[in-house]
Structures are given as C-alpha cells and as structure tokens.
C-alpha cells in the first residue's frame, strides 16, 4: 500500500495540521507517513499545498507530490483559483469541503460540508471556521486506509487541551458519518 495525497487550503486554515494529524493517525496504525508543507511565504489566506504520503514501508522520497491518488480541498473557493485536479492520477479521487454537493469534473468526488460541521462544534478561530479536523473524517471515510478511531486518537495527541481535542474529534466523527459521493443526499 502506497498512497500520495495533496491538500489544498489557505494559510492559517490548518491544512498543515490536517496532514500532520493524518500522518500521526497512520503511524498509530503502524504505517509510515509524511506530511510535507509547501509554503511560498507564510501569509494568512494565501493558497497553500501540503503533501502527504502513507505507506506500509519506510518512505524515502522527499520531493513534492505531483501525481496524487487523492486531493483534499479544505476551502471550496479555491477550486476557482487553483487547478486542484492538476496531476491527479486517472482513477484518483477528490475529497471536498463543499457547500453545494457537486462532483468536480469527471472525478470521483466525496463531499462533506465541513464548514457547517466545524461551526456546529464551535470550532471557530478569529472568525474562521477550522475545518481541518472535520475534513479528516471525510478523508478516513473516502480512503478507507486510516480508521476514524485512529484519526480521533491522533487528534488527542495533537492538541494539548482535552476539551479542544474532544470537540475536534467529534467534528471528525460527524464528518465521517456525513461524507458521501457528491450528488448523493447529505
């Protein structure tokens, strides 16, 4: 098993943390994993990419992910600004925080309204809903590689405050339950 993912988010939105928690979760399951941020500069709001690799063998590569098996979009507005499908493998999938429940062009797309879920758990920092943990519920569901329990345990590892960890894990679990192929009923 060897998977490469690319996360698309905005600076300050938590894409790096999302990929880090996913790596933690995979490692908790005895797998090998990486999360590689790619900043052009640390600007809040600017589009950022984060690369993720998960494998059952040690990972040697450190270059960027060019042909992901899956892309994860934290911010729906980005699909108008960035070619999020660039280099996606022919049978690759998209996992999108989507308010509209529509698939991306000719790609098997999983949708979840992570923004709504984050707000319902009061996961809002400086006016921004933090969707990065909710989206991981969707990643767990869509990929079937890392379990939602491991995501939950990794969230507990990531956040020093048990209350914050609890709210984030609850958001991930809600998203896990609500994620479906786009176009299916939410």
């Amino acid at each position: 098993m060897y998977l490469e993912l690319r996360f698309h988010g905005r600076g300050g939105e938590g894409a790096v943390t999302a990929a880090t928690i996913l790596a933690r979760a995979a490692v908790l399951e005895g797998k090998y994993a990486q999360a590689i941020p790619n900043f052009s500069a640390e600007r809040r709001g600017a589009p950022v990419e984060v690369y993720s690799r998960i494998s059952d063998k040690p990972i040697e590569k450190h270059s960027q992910v060019r042909n992901p098996d899956a892309i994860v979009v934290l911010d729906y507005e980005l699909i108008k600004m960035v070619n999020v499908l660039s280099g996606l493998k022919p049978n690759g999938i998209a996992i999108v925080n989507s308010p509209v429940n529509e698939p991306l062009d000719n790609v098997k797309t999983y949708c979840v309204d992570a923004t709504k879920i984050a707000k319902s758990h009061n996961l809002v920092i400086s006016g921004w809903p933090t969707v990065n943990t909710a989206i991981l519920g969707a990643v767990s569901k869509a990929l079937g590689i890392v379990s939602i329990d491991s995501i939950s345990n990794a969230i507990a590892e990531q956040f020093s405050s048990p209350n914050i960890a609890k709210a984030n894990a609850a958001a991930a679990l809600d998203a896990y339950k609500m994620t479906s192929l786009c176009g299916d009923s939410y």
């Binding site: 790096v16 790596a23 933690r24 490692v27 590689i36 990972i59 450190h62 270059s63 590892e157």
Partner: protein, 399 residues
C-alpha cells in the same frame, strides 16, 4: 517510542535527551521551531536548562560558547543569514576547542529572499574547523544530534559539530521517529568532557594574543582533531547502532554502491529521491548506486577513494555552488578522485527547486551516454534548470 515529529522537533527531542544545560538562539526561519520547542520544554519543567535570550545570532553562538567554556553542555540552532552573521564566532568556537552542538536548518541565502532548502549556508562553514554532518531524514536528524554530542566531547576531537537538516523538507515535514528512552541515552552518552573549564577561580584566558609560532601549532592541532574525528564518527555510529539498532555508515552511507558501475554522490534529504532513481535505473539495466556524504567535514577522502576509484563514472549533485568554479561537493570529490574516474557535477535544487527521482535518473542516463560515447568525461558543471526553464532560451531569461 515512535512519535510523529517534524525534523525540528526531532532536534529538540535529541537536545533534551542529551540533557543540554544551556541554549541560546535567535529566531530565523526555518530553524525557529527548534528553540521554540526547547523553550516550551524548559517552561514545562521537562528540561532543566537555561535559555539565554540574545539580540542576534552572533551573540547566540557567543553565549553558547561562553556557557560551554564554563562546563555546560550547550546547544544552539540557526539557518541561512543567521548562520552567516554568526560566522566569525564559528571560528572562535572551533579554535577554542570547546565542544558545542549546533543544528543548521539548511536554507538559501538572499537576495532574492528565499526560505527554502539549499546547502550554501552549511557549506559556507567548511573551513572554520567545525565538524559538519547533514542528515537525510527525521530519524537520522534525531540520531545524528545525539551522536554529535559524543563526537564533539570526545577528547581525541574536542571540536564543535553542526548537524545540518534541510529547510522545510525536513524541518517542517512530519514523519515517524523512534525516540529513545532517556535512561538508554544516559547510559550511552558519557558525562560531558572538555579540555578546560572556565570558572571564577580558574587561571585561564581564552582567545588571547599568542606568538605566531603557537598560533600555527594550534591550527595544526585542529587538523589533528578533524583527522581523528574520521575514526571517532565511525566508532560512535557503530556504538550507537549497537545500542539503538540504527547504524548509518559513519561518514558515508553506501547505498547499492559496492556492485555499482556508476555512483551518484550527494548529501541531504534528496538522497531519498535519488535512491528511488537507483531503482528506476537498475530496472533499465544501469548499475547505479549512491555514496551519500553524511559528513562533509572531516572530508571522507579515504573512504570515497576506496569506494569509487574503480567506478565507470561518478555523478555529483550539488545543492550549492562556489561561484566562478563549481559545486563544492564536486570540487572536493574531483580533487579526491583526481584522474581516477569519469566525473560530472550537476547543480540542482537551488532555493528549494524540487528535484524528482526521474530527474536524478535522467541525469544519470545522460552521463552514462556521454561516458560511453567519449570514454573520458570531466564536466565540472551541468545545470539542471527548474522544469519551467528547461525548454526556453536561457540567454533570453538571464539577459
């Protein structure tokens, strides 16, 4: 215990396991999270150490040297412009023969401003007397940092050590890291040793003016320490391997290089991608391997001669350049292997430009073709331009 850590946090964990007593640093991307983490550990009471806050990198190393001279295991970290600003004190530290460990988050040097990986900052310290290692991945970052204290404090060496880790590609990338138990590190790492200790009572002056003759002899003694470090680094790596199960090859990691006809030589994180390239090349029938430089100082000349003298060709990848000549690894290696084999230097990945396994493989295929056509190849510089500039007229781009 397996933890999922960034390279920077792996450094901080290692410094904590080595029970450093003093750290002094000035923030600079991509190093900052190392000392942030240490500061947090001190604040939480997990690490009994003092953090000395200073106004610059020059002072950061001066404070670290002072603390070390006073008998403390001391540590600092920096990168890029911070390291260049510190450069003078690197000479003072090595010349004082005081053991110190410093992490360098290898980063490009402006202008234009660039925060991404390059080896120019680290390589720029080649001639200061410091021992200089560069790791490939996060586990090695932790292990090399712990080993660095033992190397630096070995009485045969007594020289400061740099642990290089690639900016962002390691510093900010998380990966699983096996973090040893404190008691195992305590058993393995001897108590601090150093040639002399400054105390309020001691009658020692540091950095005083000496006769030219004595100065000359002290320069000679640094070289003796560097030469001894070749043996010590190998010993320490073997001993660490026995204690913790991870041995990296001492000064040079030989990856499928023994039976190889052609060998790539490089250092840092992209060696992992080059290893993928070796798999691609071997499938195509090219017997390729890698000699990964783990320590550029002391320079592993003997090992490289022994491993490479009879190869059909050696392809060197430099992530830095000595303007007006060639990449520094190339110049070192071509002097070590003078006349022994075909050699080419490739300048790639400057300022964090991504280099893929396919790029390494294609460069090797091109080199092999040239060797097979010409019989004799000596190419100091081949530029591997960024992908977007490969099919354009370069004269127009740089005019």
């Amino acid at each position: 215990m397996i933890k999922t850590l960034t390279g920077n946090y792996a450094v901080a964990e290692a410094a904590k396991l080595a029970r450093i007593k003093v750290t002094s640093a000035y923030p600079i991307t991509p190093q900052t999270t190392i000392v942030e983490k240490l500061s947090e550990m001190i604040e939480k009471g997990e690490l009994e150490a003092k953090m000395i806050r200073v106004e610059s990198e020059h002072s950061a190393l001066a404070a670290t040297l002072g603390a070390a001279a006073a008998g403390s295991r001391a540590f600092t970290a920096t990168a890029s412009h911070g390291l260049l600003y510190m450069h003078e004190v690197l000479w003072w530290t090595a010349s004082a023969r005081i053991p110190v460990v410093m992490a360098v988050a290898a980063r490009a040097i402006g202008a234009p401003w660039n925060i991404h990986v390059e080896h120019s900052d680290v390589v720029d310290q080649r001639d200061t007397g410091w021992i200089i290692g560069i790791a490939q991945e996060n586990q090695e970052v932790l292990d090399m940092t712990i080993q660095a204290f033992r190397i630096s404090e070995d009485p045969r060496v007594y020289l400061p050590v740099i642990v290089g880790l690639d900016g962002f590609i390691l510093t900010h990338t998380v990966a699983p890291v096996n973090v040893p138990d404190q008691k195992d590190v305590d058993n393995w790492l001897p108590p601090r040793r150093q040639p002399y200790v400054i105390t309020p009572e001691s009658k020692i002056a540091m950095g005083n003016m000496t006769s030219d003759d004595d100065y000359y002899m002290m320069r000679y003694s640094i070289q003796v320490g560097q030469e001894a470090a070749k043996k010590v680094i190998e010993e320490v790596d073997q001993s660490y391997g026995k204690a913790f199960g991870r041995y990296y090859g001492g000064l040079v990691e030989c990856y499928r290089c023994d039976d190889a006809d052609y060998v790539m030589v490089l250092m840092g994180s992209w060696a992992g991608d080059a290893k993928e390239a070796v798999k691609i090349l071997r499938e195509k029938g090219i017997n390729a391997g890698i000699a990964r430089i783990r320590f550029i100082r002391p320079w592993p000349a003997e090992i490289l001669r022994e491993k490479l003298y009879n190869k059909k060709g050696v392809l060197v990848f430099d992530r830095s350049i000595s303007f007006g000549n060639a990449g520094q690894l190339f110049t070192e290696l071509s002097s070590t292997l003078y006349g022994m084999t075909n050699i080419r230097g490739v300048i790639a990945g400057l300022g964090g430009v991504d280099v893929l396994p396919e790029d390494f493989a294609n460069e090797m295929i091109d080199f092999v073709n040239k060797v097979e056509e010409n019989g004799k190849v000596y190419d100091p510089i081949k530029w591997l331009f960024p992908a977007k500039y490969r099919n354009v007229k370069i004269e127009e781009v740089v005019s």
